[in-house]
Each structure stands twice: as structure tokens, then as C-alpha cells.
């Protein structure tokens, strides 16, 4: 099993490396080059553009730019070919590279280090994402059990119909609608933000968190309840469940000891997918609920053509996603004694 964990970790490292390649290519794909915003200034001259390209090191070959961005340029030879102009003039302003958490400086936030911008917003995104995950398990788990135990009867039907209905509209739209009605018209929940400015108490935080977390958990609880219902129905038909019933165990014991334990495994696998979904969806929910997290930063950066921030957000969110999937896989292998660690078929 240690071997399995090591192999999965190495795989994840490769994935992170691939994500830095994708992230870096954003910089190269930028229409008109990453410094295109200079065109907005009518007084700029060709010399200005060339000077800035030298300062930012965009005149270097793509491979060198990647190495400097990913691994830093302070260890590279001191020539025009290897280093950006900034780094040649002042060794203190050399890029330290993504591996040392230096994502450069933002274009639009007056040269603030990108990592600082992101570090300020990660707690907000995490608060929302983890609360949603908790809520989606908290709601999805009982719903799945109720649906499976009452298959074909009204609780199951009600759950299935509402699941379909919730699935047919974008979840952020439901959020927007609830925000208008509950927040705007009835004044029951705040209209946005993490807490009342000047009164950032914990009650205020909880109050602000309630609607965003519940709404962004919708997809998760639907997913969890579906997985659990399906798995429980499978397990309920197993011989060992019939045996357990036949030897006179109570319904509760059968359910907890035999059914749920076995139905839990796919539930654990579902965790990583739903974690990713919530992380991905944070962009939309943070826009709807004016939540000051990474998602809103992403939209601002995109609208301002702030490429360093975009690249950093992509790499960091990919890293979080990859880490989440890795952790769930490891958890799975610890929990499920049946997982085989060699290459599995099917």
C-alpha cells in the first residue's frame, strides 16, 4: 500500500507539472501578447514596448521563459538570453519561480505580488467550499438512505422529482433567485460579502455564509444522494444482507453494519468529483454572492487581462484539485480493503 501511495503521489506531481505547462501556455496564447494592454495608451512608442518586453523578459525564447517562470531565474546565467531585464539590473527582483510560490506581480493591482492577492482570498474560497461540502454530505447522505429504503414509494419519488428539477436549472440561477427573494425583497439574508463591514462577528459570518454555502452545495447533495441510493439498492440485494436479516439482526444493525459500510465506498470516490465541482463552481457562486474569494479574483483578472494572476489562479486551483483527488484516493485505499494496487482492469 505504501507503494501505491508513493506511485499515486508521483502521478499527481506529474499532473501538477502538466498543469503548469497549461497555465504557462495561457501567457503565450494571449492575443497580441501579454503586454497588449500597452496599446490602450496612445502615447506609447515602439521603444517603450521593446523596453518593457526586455524588462519583463518576454523577448526571451519560450522555453527559457517557462523555466524562469516555473523554477525561478536567480540561478540562471547573467545574460540577456537567460534573464529578464529586471532581474539583470537588480538581483532582488528576480523571479523565484512557481516552485517557490512566486507567481510574479499583478498587472492590474499596481504590482502587488500575485501570491499575496491569492493568499488573501484563499480563506474565503475555502470557507465556502468546505461548508458546501459539509452541507452536501449532511443533506445528501440522509436523502440517499431515505430514497433507497423507500424505493418506489412517495419519499423516493419526491426526492427523485426534486433532484431532476434542481438539475434542470443552473444552480447559480437558483442562488440568484433566492438572493433576490430572500435577500432583496424579504431582507432575511444579506445581499453579499462575507460579513457586515465594521461588525465582523461570527454570527454575522454565519449569516452571510448560510445562503451561498447551501446553494453551492445543491450539486453536491444531489450527487451524493444519487450515488448512495444506487449503491444501497445494490447492496440491499446481496446475499449477505439477506443472511443478516435471516439470522434475526435488527433493521438498524443490518443497515449500519452491513449495508452502509459497503455502500460507503463509492460515496468516498464521489467526494473527489464533488470537491472539484464545488471548487470549479466557486467562480460562479462567488460572482452571484459577491463572495471575496479566488473566483471573483479570476473574473476581475480576466476582465483586466491580468495574465500573471490568471496563470497563478489556474495553477493553484489545479494544484488544489489534484491534491483533493489524491487525498480521496489515498483515503479510499485505506478504507477499502478490497482495493488492488496493481493495474486494475475495468
Amino acid at each position: 500500500m505504501t507503494r501505491y501511495i508513493i506511485r499515486r503521489s508521483l502521478q499527481s506531481l506529474v499532473l501538477v507539472w502538466i498543469s503548469t505547462l497549461i497555465g504557462f501556455s495561457i501567457y503565450q496564447m494571449a492575443p497580441g501578447g501579454p503586454l497588449q494592454f500597452l496599446d490602450d495608451d496612445p502615447r506609447r512608442t515602439q521603444a517603450d514596448v521593446e523596453r518593457l518586453e526586455r524588462v519583463y523578459g518576454i523577448d526571451r525564447t519560450v522555453a527559457v521563459q517557462y523555466v524562469a517562470w516555473a523554477f525561478g531565474e536567480d540561478w540562471l546565467p547573467q545574460t540577456d538570453f537567460w534573464r529578464s531585464g529586471r532581474c539583470l539590473n537588480d538581483a532582488g527582483s528576480c523571479a523565484k519561480g512557481v516552485v517557490r510560490l512566486d507567481f510574479g506581480r499583478s498587472f492590474s493591482f499596481k504590482g502587488t505580488p500575485v501570491i499575496k492577492l491569492i493568499a488573501e482570498r484563499i480563506p474565503a474560497t475555502f470557507t465556502l467550499a468546505f461548508t458546501s461540502l459539509l452541507i452536501s454530505v449532511g443533506i445528501g447522505f440522509p436523502l440517499g438512505i431515505i430514497a433507497a429504503l423507500n424505493r418506489g414509494r412517495w419519499p423516493d419519488n419526491v426526492i427523485r422529482v426534486s433532484t431532476v428539477l434542481l438539475n434542470t436549472v443552473p444552480e447559480w440561477w437558483i442562488g440568484l433567485l433566492l438572493l433576490i427573494i430572500l435577500g432583496g425583497y424579504l431582507g432575511l439574508v444579506p445581499l453579499g460579502g462575507m460579513c457586515t463591514i465594521g461588525d465582523c462577528t461570527w454570527q454575522s459570518r454565519m449569516h452571510h455564509l448560510l445562503l451561498p454555502a447551501t446553494v453551492s452545495a445543491i450539486g453536491g447533495w444531489i450527487g451524493f444522494s444519487r450515488i448512495l441510493r444506487f449503491e444501497m439498492l445494490e447492496v440491499l440485494n446481496m446475499d449477505y444482507v439477506r443472511t443478516a436479516r435471516a439470522k434475526g439482526l435488527s433493521q438498524r444493525t443490518v443497515l449500519w453494519r452491513h449495508v452502509l459500510r459497503n455502500a460507503m465506498m463509492p460515496f468516498v470516490t464521489g467526494l473527489s468529483g464533488i470537491f472539484l465541482m464545488i471548487l470549479s463552481g466557486s467562480v460562479l457562486f462567488e460572482m452571484v454572492f459577491s463572495w471575496p474569494g479566488m473566483g471573483r479574483l479570476a473574473i476581475n483578472a480576466i476582465n483586466a487581462r491580468d495574465y500573471p494572476v490568471m496563470m497563478a489562479l489556474f495553477v493553484i486551483s489545479s494544484f488544489l484539485g489534484i491534491l483533493g483527488v489524491l487525498m480521496v484516493d489515498i483515503l479510499y485505499s485505506v478504507v477499502d480493503p478490497r482495493v488492488r494496487y496493481d493495474r486494475t482492469v475495468a
Partner: protein, 345 residues
């Protein structure tokens, strides 16, 4: 007599597969309803120019700066009372529910006036921030959203089937490993981030956006197809055709593909719904389809920051999305049962 009835029974059972599918759908009331609903949505989207000219009387792109963010015409009187009501809710006194009587009676009068009005006199769903008729734009929006949905389904279905067939057939070889690695990579990065960045950089039109969404949406189908192939590739008929020397491509096309076709069809149908929702999200964030072209997503983008004062901008496109995706989901559900030869009616 009885033997004749038996013969009759036997004859009805000698149905073709397509015939059986059709009968099953025909008997499934919910699916029939969903098909009608989808036909209605497709109908109004295709006929949008005619509806715009002859039923609603508005152009989807012509702005009217004197009519910016106006409530529905029939609610002209009711809307201020409603706003009054919301103000009482936000005050310390609590909601003044007695205002609802006035709201209802004012809307009733307004609705009567709207039904009697001439062409282009009534904004049924209000106007947006540039004075364009919201209902007309929503009707036109279906043209974009459905087009994107169909393209995405086509692209992701083609990719998913191709990848799934190949990786299933060549399972546990290096080809399968490569495809699995791609799926794993795409499966562990938050794709919405990438989609937003890419659609901002390329600023694609409807087809380009569909291509972007489709390229990142084939993994689920590919996995499904691969799993199915796994279970059928050791069957006797596959081994038999391998034994008589059939090339892999022929085996894939003639023996494997027909066995997984129902999964493909159903997942393509769900794909259309997923794509419509994805497009709405991207356009809402302002990186999908840009105005003045109306799509259900970018209509809602106009509501950013103004949603309290103009909720019709949010409600109308959302209801159209709801109607369309509900129809698609129900059809997909019905087809899944109908296409399964093991389920008898």
C-alpha cells in the same frame, strides 16, 4: 379461436427494435409530454423572427433608451406597490402582507389591458438595461443556446465514443494508458477556470464556444463506453470475428458500436442539457456569447448589480433554460428505458 389469438400475440411480438422503442415511448406519457415541450422550444426558436415580427412586435437587438429596465407592461401599476411591500419587509416593522391584494388586482387589470393591446404595445416580460424586449430576446436566445447545445453534444459524443472505443479495445496497452492519462489530467483540474480563461482569450462565436465546451466534456462518455466494451470484448462473437481475421476497425464498427449505441444516444441527449447550462454560466460571467446577440446566459449578465430592481431579467431566461433542459432530461430518461431491450412494456 384461442390459437388465433396466440398467433396474433406472436405477431405483435415480432417487432423490429426501432418499432419496440417507438411503442415504448408512445406509451410513456411523460416522455411524450417532454417531446412536445421540446418541439415547442425548438419551434419558437426556429420561428423566432416570425414571432418577433408578428406576435410580440419587437426586435431582439433594437434598443430604446426611453424604455430602459422597465417592468412588464401589465405590471406597470403593480410593480411600485410590490416595491413598497419589499420596503416594508426590509424595515423594522416587518412585511405588510396586506399590499398583495392591491398587487393582484392591479396585475389583473394590467393583464387585461395587455391582452387587448396592439402589436408591440406590451412588453410581456419587461425590458432590459438597453430598452430591448426581454421576452423577444429570450425567444431568440434559444437559437444560440440550442445551437450550442447540439454542437457540444456532437463534439463531445464523437470524441467520447472514439476515445472510449479505442481505449476499451486496446485496454491495458499503452494506448489505453495515454487516454487514461488525458482523462485523469482533465478530471483533476477545475475545468471551469480553464474554460473561462480560454473563452476570454479566444472570444469565440457560438460554434467556437461549443468546441471549447465539447473538448472538455467527453471524459464521462469515454469512461462509460470503455467499461461497456470491457464487458463485451471477451464475448464469443467478438472472438469469432477475430478468428476469421476481421480487422479491429471492422469489429469495432460492426460488433462493438451497436452494443453501446443506446448509452451513447442517452448521454448525448444529457450532453445537450449540460451544454446549455454551461453556456449560460459562461455567458453570465461575461466570457461566453457577447451582446448584442441574445443568449439565455448573457441576458442574465445584464442583470448583474441590478437584479433587485429588474428581476424579470433573471427570471425569464431562467424559465426558458428550465423548460428546455427539463424536456431534454425527461426525454433522456424515457429513451434510456425505451432503448433497453431487456425492459418490456
Amino acid at each position: 379461436m384461442s390459437s388465433r389469438a396466440d398467433a396474433g400475440d406472436l405477431q405483435t411480438k415480432q417487432q423490429t427494435y426501432a418499432g419496440a422503442v417507438f411503442t415504448k415511448i408512445y406509451r410513456d406519457k411523460i416522455t411524450v409530454f417532454a417531446l412536445l415541450l421540446l418541439a415547442f422550444v425548438i419551434g419558437i426558436s426556429v420561428g423566432a423572427p416570425w414571432i418577433g415580427d408578428n406576435v410580440l412586435g419587437f426586435s431582439p437587438t433594437k434598443t430604446n433608451l426611453r424604455m430602459r429596465s422597465k417592468p412588464p407592461t401589465w405590471a406597470n401599476e403593480a410593480w411600485p406597490i410590490f416595491q413598497e411591500f419589499t420596503r416594508t419587509c426590509n424595515s423594522d416593522a416587518g412585511c405588510d402582507w396586506s399590499k398583495w391584494g392591491a398587487i393582484f388586482s392591479a396585475s389583473r387589470t394590467g393583464l387585461r389591458g395587455c391582452f387587448g393591446s396592439g402589436l408591440g404595445d406590451c412588453h410581456w416580460m419587461g425590458t432590459d438595461d438597453a430598452g430591448r424586449d426581454v421576452l423577444t430576446r429570450a425567444v431568440y436566445g434559444g437559437r444560440i443556446s440550442l445551437r450550442i447545445g447540439l454542437w457540444v453534444a456532437t463534439i463531445s459524443m464523437t470524441l467520447g465514443v472514439a476515445m472510449g472505443l479505442v481505449s476499451g479495445y486496446y485496454a491495458t496497452t499503452w494506448i489505453d494508458d495515454i487516454i487514461n492519462a488525458i482523462i485523469m489530467t482533465l478530471g483533476s483540474i477545475p475545468l471551469l477556470f480553464l474554460l473561462i480563461i480560454l473563452s476570454r482569450i479566444f472570444q469565440p462565436g457560438p460554434e467556437g464556444l461549443a468546441l471549447l465546451i465539447g473538448i472538455f466534456g467527453w471524459m464521462g462518455l469515454s469512461r462509460l463506453v470503455r467499461g461497456q466494451i470491457f464487458s463485451i470484448r471477451e464475448r464469443e462473437y467478438i472472438i469469432a470475428s477475430q478468428a476469421i481475421g476481421a480487422p479491429p476497425l471492422r469489429i469495432l464498427a460492426r460488433h462493438v458500436l451497436p452494443n453501446v449505441s443506446s448509452i451513447i444516444i442517452v448521454s448525448a441527449i444529457f450532453g445537450v442539457a449540460g451544454a446549455i447550462i454551461a453556456e449560460a454560466g459562461l455567458s453570465y460571467l461575461g466570457v461566453g456569447i457577447g451582446p448584442p446577440l441574445p443568449s439565455w446566459g448573457n441576458m442574465m449578465q445584464g442583470s448583474l448589480g441590478n437584479f433587485q430592481n429588474a428581476p424579470w431579467l433573471v427570471i425569464t431566461p431562467g424559465l426558458f433554460i428550465f423548460m428546455t433542459t427539463l424536456a431534454i432530461y425527461l426525454i433522456g430518461d424515457g429513451l434510456r428505458d425505451a432503448l433497453d431491450p431487456w425492459i418490456r412494456q
